[in-house]
Structure formats: structure tokens, C-alpha cells
Symmetry: D3
Subunit: 253 residues, 6 copies
């Protein structure tokens, strides 16, 4: 089983974190294929960046070879629903997988993260998935951080304290430590938080495997059927080929 781990951010170090944390819960025989965006921003944190990064995610999916499932590995799930329309393989988002997994562990989950700038985007992501009623709140640290690839080490104690506040004050039954730059942190701090802690990439890894095993058919009806072919101008060639329902032109990409 081959699962694409797509990081729509341009930071390769974060891809490594994601890969490491995802690999720990992968089944024997599952191959995890990491890929990092070559254009965009170091880490997506706002609506505008998600708009751009989601389009880049679609380009990256169009370039993927044969896979059994894909993970869009940015909490906030940029481009997820568009991807679900265009491609025949299953696609899961980091936020989606984390939240749905958390739903099996409690009534309400808290989303705990390292930067306040992420909150509006995350909140709209929760609503987009229809899960606002299951969300106890989004808590973010104040202040800046030194490096996106080391933020989890730098902020570990503050994040644990924040998670404990979410439990004590927001009545959270589960804590999700997000987004991608915190991959792997949940495993380290689980004993310091009194409720189950979900690592989004671990959840996404398992949910992608689940979909790959269940092998759902590609919809040919409903709102996620593949759109009819349509001409395009000026888009990345592999994505253009997908939208136009044709083979990619050689020598492109």
C-alpha cells in the first residue's frame, strides 16, 4: 500500500517530522511517500495562504504517480474538497482525520496550537467539516517562535500547559495538537495531559490506510463525482491534464 504524504508547505524539515510521526503508526507493508511543495510559503497560516496553498496541493496531487491514498498534510486541509472531486484515489486532510478520530474518544475536542494567526483558518476548517458542535475551542500560544521546524521543542511546556487549560476550562475530552510542525509531539507529552491526545498525522496515516483498505469506488454521482472536462489556460500541465481529462503532455511539469 502506497500513501502520499503531501506537505503543501515549502519547509522540508516539517515533511521529515510528518514522515517520522506517520511512520510510527503505519501498518507493516505500507509505504509512505513524502513530498514537499516547491512553491508557496514555509507554512500556511491564513486564509489567503490556504487559498494559494490549496491550489498548489492540487498541482502536487496531479503529479503523483499511482498511489492508494493521499494525505494533505496541513492542518486546515487546503484544497481537500477540490482534490476529492478531481482524483480517483482517496484523499484525507490532517484536520479532518484528527477531528474524526478525536470524535471516537470524547464528546468535544480542543485544538491546541502554537500561533494565534492560525485560529481563524482553523475555525473555518472545523465549520467546513460540520464539526463545530464537537469542538470545545481553539487555543493558541501568544508570542512568536524561532523556527517552524523546531517550534515543538521550543514551546513544548507552554503547549502542555495550554492543553491542560483546554481540559480544565473548556471541558475538552480530547486534545488535538496541531498543525504539521507539531507532528510527533503528542507521543512525547501524552502523560502530561489528562485526556487522550491526538497527533493529526498519526490519525491521518491510519485513516488513509483505512480508506485504502476499504477501497471505496470513485463517485460517478453526487457532489464529488469527477467534473466534466473543461479547457484551461496557463495552469500547471499535470493539473491542466486532469481538468481537461487528457494525458499530460510530455516534457512538461
Amino acid at each position: 500500500m502506497k500513501i502520499l504524504l503531501l506537505n503543501p508547505n515549502t519547509t522540508a524539515d516539517v515533511t521529515d517530522l510528518l514522515h517520522a510521526a506517520g511512520s510510527k503508526v503505519a501498518s507493516a507493508g505500507t509505504e509512505l511517500v513524502p513530498v514537499t511543495a516547491t512553491r508557496g510559503v514555509p507554512y500556511i497560516a491564513t486564509r489567503a495562504e490556504a487559498q494559494i496553498g490549496g491550489a498548489i496541493a492540487l498541482e502536487m496531487l496531479a503529479e503523483a504517480g499511482p498511489i492508494d491514498a493521499a494525505i494533505i498534510a496541513a492542518f486546515g486541509d487546503p484544497g481537500l474538497f477540490g482534490a476529492r472531486e478531481l482524483f480517483a484515489f482517496p484523499v484525507v486532510g490532517l484536520a479532518e482525520a484528527a477531528m474524526l478520530t478525536a470524535c471516537m474518544l470524547g464528546r468535544r475536542f480542543a485544538i491546541v496550537t502554537f500561533a494565534g494567526a492560525l485560529a481563524p483558518w482553523y475555525e473555518e476548517c472545523v465549520a467546513m467539516h460540520g464539526l463545530s458542535g464537537r469542538c470545545a475551542g481553539i487555543r493558541t500560544l501568544d508570542g512568536s517562535f524561532q523556527s517552524i521546524s523546531d517550534v515543538q521543542a521550543e514551546k513544548e511546556d507552554l503547549l502542555v500547559a495550554l492543553a491542560n487549560q483546554a481540559v480544565a476550562q473548556d471541558a475538552a475530552d480530547v486534545v488535538i495538537l496541531s498543525g504539521a510542525p507539531l507532528a510527533g509531539l503528542a507521543a512525547k507529552v501524552r502523560d502530561r495531559i489528562p485526556v487522550p491526545v491526538v497527533d493529526p498525522v498519526a490519525a491521518a496515516m491510519r485513516q488513509a490506510e483505512t480508506l485504502a483498505v476499504l477501497k471505496p469506488r470513485k463517485a460517478i454521482a453526487g457532489t464529488f463525482r469527477r467534473p466534466d472536462p473543461k479547457p484551461t489556460i496557463g495552469l500547471a500541465e499535470p493539473l491542466a491534464a486532469i481538468i481537461e481529462h487528457r494525458s499530460p503532455k510530455e516534457g512538461t511539469n
Copy 2:
């Protein structure tokens, strides 16, 4: 990995169907332990039966030996939240697992089943999980059936037609074929329905495995922390022991 497949109905044939469908998607090395209720009704279909069957499910879980996760294998999830309070191992419900899995395959899922009597209970189950906004509707066949263990064969064509109506008329992106007596049917009819079809026990099997792999800690805070010990009168001994926080008395059950 050892997963309890708990059928809170008294029909052993249905347990066999569940076991067969669950086994097909289990990972190598996963042991599925089926158990059938020895008291209750042949198949739970109403709120009253779910009230009783849920209490029986708690008794059955209290009797389980060491396991890594449990599935309450009746769509409607009788006793699920109570179980999640009392026990340290993860527990998933058939409806819960099917619906959350369906959420990764489309905007709205339809629940398609064989008996109208089930609809009110199912509807309250969807609401209990906070997923009403993701549900395109519940469609049920009219008329009676001959045997609960053969109903999926008897009604196959009608159920496929009903699923197609849900897609065409209710804008469903995904179809869930429920409940327990339809275990295994999704795999047979998937090509005759134009959207992904979810088999609840297959979904539950994978989600139980996911929780067993992620090994979430038992909450000691939040609304699913284990309740404090409390005296009981006249309850089944293993369940009484759990509630009273003591070892079961010898010679009982």
C-alpha cells in the same frame, strides 16, 4: 491485537455475518473475538430495546477479558457513551465508525436500511453524534422480512434501488448500508451504486484497529473520565464490580 466484536443482539447468525465482514478488512495479526448477547432481543430496533440492549452491552463488556479495543456491533450504538466512561480500552460503535468514515468520502451520507422501525432510533443516534448536518437522510424499506439473518439476501435488490434513490433524490455523496444484519452486503453491491458505499462493520473494524494502534490514554479528566466508585444493588456481578471499582467476586458469571 485483540478486538472484541460485541453483538448486543441475541442472534448468533448475525454475529457470524459481522465476523465475516469484519475479518475481510482486518490487518494481519488482528484477532477478532465475537460474542453474542445471551439475553435481550433478536435485533434491537427501537429506543426501548436500545435502552435495554445498551445496558446488556455494558454487562458484556464487563465480562470481556483483556482486549485492545471493542466494537458495539449494533447500528445505533447502544450503550456506547456509557462504555466509554467505564472502560479503559477504546470502544467504537457501528454507526459512529460508519458515519465518521463516510465523512471522509463526501459531504453527506445517506443511511439505508431494511426496516422502517429503525429510523427513529437511527435519527437520534445521528444527532447524538452531532452529525445531523452531514446526514442526507435515512431511507428504509417498507414491509416485513422473513428472517433477520437472511434479510440482506431477501432484500438486496430493493436496498440497491433505495440507495440509488438516496443518491438521486437526497443528494447523498455516500451510502451507509445498515445495520448489523446487512454486514457484508456493501461489498456485494458496490458496483450497482454510483457513490462510495460504507459497510458499518468494516468501518468499525478499521476504526477499532486505529484506536488500538494509537493507544489513547484513558481520560482522568473531562466527561469520559471513569466515574468514582459507587455501591450497586442487583446488577450483573462483573458490571457491578466495574462500577464499584473492585475485583469481580468468584463464582459469579
Copy 3:
């Protein structure tokens, strides 16, 4: 008019409190028939206990002789919807009656109670009745109490303070003092709380009378029609007889 006052808890002292508070608002000619659970827990406080206690409530209702209406006298309404399916007489729950009565006295009611363990169950009860939008919040005392039958005296001042906080800070227009062990407290403290205070058993007493006077027909359609007969194994005989649509066997119960 004969109204069953069913305490699904095993604490007879609480039944006495309920009886006393209910009697004060009963109409002339109304007979209140108290009954206490003989198995279960001293007071239901969690989802698991409500699952079990609700099944016991159904057993107790099946044993009731001819009555005009019944009250399930635990705030949280264990077994209520199942009871409404199975029985021809009207059944009201303590929480249901209190909340609906409170709706006629203000925009939002607060639920004020003596133990934090009750909050998750109460919250799900409010949602189950579709009244979350009318609920200003659930406030609970911290700390333990000495005896369930004396808790209202022990905690009176703290509960009054808590009710005042709910009014000042949660914008509650009405306060419900719950659950069963606080029966009768509302009348004592009403002048110390600046908004109307509802005593659940008083409200339930009046609502049960209302239904007994209005004499609604038993539904033979809709989701609360009586379920079709179904075989049972190992259930309490009177309840089995109800589910199987037959007379109870002699010498049982």
C-alpha cells in the same frame, strides 16, 4: 387521578423528598404513588448509570398497575423515550417537565446542581430534548457531599450562591434546582434568588396531571407508536410481557 412517581434510584429517602415536594402542588383528588428502584445505584449520575437505570425504569413501569400518568423522577430522564414507546399512559421526565415549564418563565434557564459528575449527563439530556438553545448553562458545586438524602440542607447556601451566579454571569432568566435530591429546595430558597426558580418534581407533578387531564391517545403512527411484538430472552418478566405483547406470566416478578 393516579400518578406514578417512579424513582429509578435505590434511595428511598429521596423518594420521600420527591413525594413531599410533588404532593404540595398536586390537585385535590390526585393520588401520587411513589415507588423506589430495588436494584441499581443510590443515585444515577453518569451516562453508564443512566443506561442501566433507564432499563430498570422500564422494568418498573411494566410492573405498575393502572395509572393515569407516570413521572420518571431522575433529572436526566433515564428511559423516558423508550417508556413513551412502550406504554399507553403518558410519561414525563423530571428534566423535561422542569425545562418546558421554565421555558414559560424566561428566555433561558440555568440548571444548578450539587455535583459536577452530573453535568455531562445533564448536558446530553438538554440536547436530547432539543432545548440547548434555551439553556443558559449548567452550574455545579465542586467537592463531595455527606449524604445524598441530606445534600440539599448541607449545600443550601452554596446552591443559592451558585444560582445567583448563573443569573448574574450566564444571563439566566430562570433557575432549575436539580436533580431529585434537591426536591423541595426551590420553595425554601425562592426569595433569595432574583428570578423564578423551578422545582423539577413540582413541575413534573403538574405536567403529569396536565397530560392525564388532556388524555392524549396512544400513538398508532409516528415514532412513538408501540413497537410490534418481539421475542425476548432473560428480561424481567413484566417487561418481557410488554415487549412480547402478552400478559405477564403468573408467579413472576
Copy 4:
């Protein structure tokens, strides 16, 4: 116990219907005091008429002598929340009482009435009470009617058919036959409708009695505390006196 039955419509025949239906369920010793609007419209049916009729209802309540509770006897509850602010005695609305009573008889109630013009107002009334989630729908007859005071006889069969459609097609567990001109009809047709049928004035009669017995204190905090005194110009003298917190001037109204 003295209960004001306030008809904010100018049709005295409808007041008689309301009085007759309300009297049938009144307790021994309850005196029902009917009063009919002397200005306004024959029957309120639109938002504009409800705006005007609600103001008239406030004038009428200001003129009432000492009473234990009041019923605003138009389905749609014109002026109800304003009345609840201004007056110390409890006030219930016909729609409010009918809907809350119906909630104890099923999951969802249908509102069935004789004129399509009423539907928008009724729908906003349901929403105003936060009960949209409990409402299966509003069904109205097409076509005109001959006389508002005889409409229930003229349309009886059509209304019964409509109620049966609401049960069969909208999954209604309870039917409310509204508004005021249908007072008394529920009792006549209850055997021809397969679910409980609620007569709004009967429900309101009982709920007004309930509030009169429970004697809730007048709020001095929260959103229904009495507003501070305020000068007025050109309002009906008794209402002006209430708003200005003074005794009515002699020789007026």
C-alpha cells in the same frame, strides 16, 4: 384561581369557542375570565397584524384586574414576551403552551391550520420559541373560508385529512390544531388522527393553571425583569401607567 383568557382578536364568537374548550379542562375552582379585543382585526393572521395585535394585547393586560395568570389566546403569541416583562402575573401564549405540551408527547409536532396566510407568522413564532428543531412542519389548507367563527365545522374533514398527511409524510408524532378559531376541534376529531392531538387553548388553560399553582416570583433580574419607569406619550392610559410605574389616572379608559 382566576385566569384571564385574552382574545386579541375582535371576534367575540371565537372568544366563546376558546372559553368553551378551555373550561372543559379547567380544574375545579378555576375561574376563566374571557375578554375580547375592542379594536384591531377579526383574526390576526400576518406579521403586521401581530405587531398591532400584540400592542393591543398589552393594553388589554394592563386593564385586567387582579388575576393569577393570563393566556394570550392567539396562536402566534402576539405581545407575549413584552407582557412577560411588564406584568407580575404569569402569562402564556397559545402557541407556546401547545408546543411545549406537544413536546411531552413526541419528538416532533406538526402545526395544522385552516389558512395559508398564517404559515409565515406561525413559522416565526416557532423559531422565536427556539422550537424549530421540534417542529415537523406547518400544513395549511388552501382556499378561503366562509366565517372565522364557523371555519372549524366547515373545514373539519379537510383538516383531519391534512393532519393525517402531516403524520404520514412529515413524520409528525403529535398534531397541533391551530389557531384560536379551531378551539375545541381536537376533542372532536381525536379518533380520526393516529397520533396525539393538542388543542392549544386546552394546553394553555392547563399551563396557565400550572404557573398559577407554582407561583413563580416576578423576576427582578434577567431579561424579563420589569423595565425601569419611562415617560410615555399618547398610549392607552392603563398601559401608560404600567410603563410609567404609576397608578392609572381616574376617569380614563
Copy 5:
């Protein structure tokens, strides 16, 4: 273009404030026609006053000569939906226009006002417009004020502080300074609040112009079609004429 600026309060000074603030944003060629209620209360602040004031607003609209659009200039929108039924010209409310305009400037708006008594009415107004999900909260000053026409000067600094709290603590993206007595304040304090500030009368002025330019047809179907003629008793003559579908009698009003 002629736009009626209807103040349903009796305070002419407030009408002047409204006129001044509205005029500043009016297009060239727009004539703003101010009118002040001659009966009612100095400023509407409660549900009861809104019930009465809304009926008065309908009377005032019935007296208006030919206009292109009307503004009901009290935040809370008394009588708005009734007006929209009765009249052929477009009508907007102060709250409605402010909230819809705010929706184009952010995710959630805060309503900031000078008197706590207004909050319940405002909250019901937000809900009435279906915009509760876009409202970050309603914040009100404590304490009394000296004069309704000078309250904005008296409380300016406190209101700015309150607006800043709404931004910092309630996650408001936009602030609405309401109601009518604060007309013009937004322009003065905009630089002291870190998000866009909406002046309700400025928004209403522009939205009324927009409707006047778009010239929507008067509905002859749907819930805002003009109600059929109906007899009236004792209403203000011009309003009676509108309801009865006839010309006003000479010599009246």
C-alpha cells in the same frame, strides 16, 4: 430619490442626530425626509416598547407620502417585517442594515451600546434576522446616563473602551455602535478602534438607496406578499386604510 427616515421614538433630538449622520453618506440627489413619532416612548429599549413602537412605526409609514424607500431608524427594527408585508416601497431597519453591511467587513460583528436594558431586545433582533452565527456578542455599558440625546458625548470614552474589549476578548472583526442615539459617533471614534466600525444609520442610508436604485418589485407571492384586505376597528385611519385596501378617509389623521 426620496427616503423616509422614520424615528419611532418620540425624541426629536435623536432624529436630528440620525439625519445628520445619514446625510453625510447620502448620494447627490437623495432627499432624506425625517419624521419623529408623536406617541410612544422617548427611546425604545425593551420588548414591550418594541411591540408598541413597531405598531406606531406602521402607523407612521401609512402616513408617508410617496417615497422611494424607508428606514425604520431604531436599532432592533420595530415593525420591520410587518412593514415589509404592507407597503410597496422597500423598508430597511437600522439593525438589519448595520449587520448586513458589517458582514461584508468581517466574520463576526460586535454590537456595542450604551445601556444594558437594550441587550435582550437586540439579541432577539439578531436572531430574528438569522445572523446569530455572525454576531460576536453584544456589549453594553453599566450605569445610567443623563440624556438620551447627549449620551454619545457623555459616554464616548467608555464606548470606545468597550468596543476595544469586544475586539480583544470576543474576537469581533467589526464593531457596530448602536442604537439611534449613537448616530454619528462611529465617524468620530473610528481611529481609536482597531477594526472597521459601522454606524447603523449610515449603513441604512446606503442600503435604502441601494434598494431604491434596484427597484425590486413588490412581492405578489411568498411570505411578504401584501395581505388580503381585512376589516379593522379602532386603528389609526391611514393604517386602517392600508389594511382594508382602501383610500384613507378625508379629514382623518
Copy 6:
């Protein structure tokens, strides 16, 4: 006043339609600056295309010279919230402006359009704006069309019939004829539809003017404050400059 009319589709003929319909309702002195996407698809119709088209809209806005407000002229509002973060001038979407304007004309609006493929995207757009409760439904024509720039003429009669169905069957008070290719149609057919009809570009033109006149400050707090500068790789130069908070490099774009 200078307003950018940004067509994120590549079809210049549709830009002409938008320009013509927008110009008709523009105030004297307003200059409308049309611009058509030079890359992308002829008309955005799905989530994937909106993901891509929204990113293109951000590029186009970054290239705009000094303007007073901008309109993203595709119903569905691709890129709107990202644009509202990045830019200091006000931005409105076609769907947003149409829906908010429709809210002033009735309780619920119907969205009527020419292609079924648009419905899922439109539905998510309505939800994104928090207006689902105000939407009576989305109705779309079946079948294909010949040319996107002539579709309004080709389908005029069918669209009028569909609008009438929305009024009769979905209880719509207002009809929105969308999306961009139908610009100008509302004015032609308004007499054949019994409720107000909104033309999205006309509404957007007026709302953009309104924002330009009100001159709201750019938020420096809240969720639409401008994001902090961030490095980018491989983005269109003017957009990169905006995100990086620097002047665009010469010779680029």
C-alpha cells in the same frame, strides 16, 4: 470612485455582461474597471476550480492599481476571505452581495442557476457566509448549454420557470439569478417572477459603492487584519510582494 470588477474566469464576453449590468446601477461618477483572468478556466463551476480560481483572483487583485473597492465577480466568491485579509481596499463577492441584499427583501432567497454542476459549490458558499438559514434552496437546470456567454438567452424561459417553482414550492421570498453569465437577466425577466429578483452584479456594484463611501478602516486586529510578512517561493510577483510586505520588483508581472 473607482471600482474594480474582477472576473476570475477567462471568458471576456462574461466580463462584458457583468460590466453592462453593473454600469446600469452605478452612481454618477463611479468608474467601473473590468478585468478578465488570463489564466484559469472559462467559468468556475466546482470546488477544485474555485480553489484554483480564488488563487488567481488574489494575483489579479495584487496587480490592481489604486482602487476604492473591488468586486470578485464569480458567484461562489472564490478567494474572497483571503482577499479581505491581504488588501486594504474593501472587497465584495458576487454571492455575498446578492445574498445580503436579498435578505432585505424577504425571509428566504432562492438561488436559481443554469447548471447543476454549480450547486455543491454554491451550497458551500452559502454556508461559508453563515446564511444557510436564509436560503430556501438552490435550483439548477438540467442539461447542457451551448455557450457560456449566450446561456442566459438560450435558457431564459427555463430559468423563469425554475424561479417560479422556487417561489411556489420552496417558499422563496426572493430569487437570485446567478452566476456571472446571467448578469443582466434579472432586469429582463422581473415581471415574470412574482417576487423580487436580485441580479448579483447589480447588488455587488451597489454594495461595493457603499463600502467605498463608508470607507471602513483596514483592520489591524481581528481575523481580517493583514497577515505578518512571510517569505514566498514561486508565486506571481505582485502577489508575492503583497505577502512579503514589499514593493513589487520591476519588470515582473
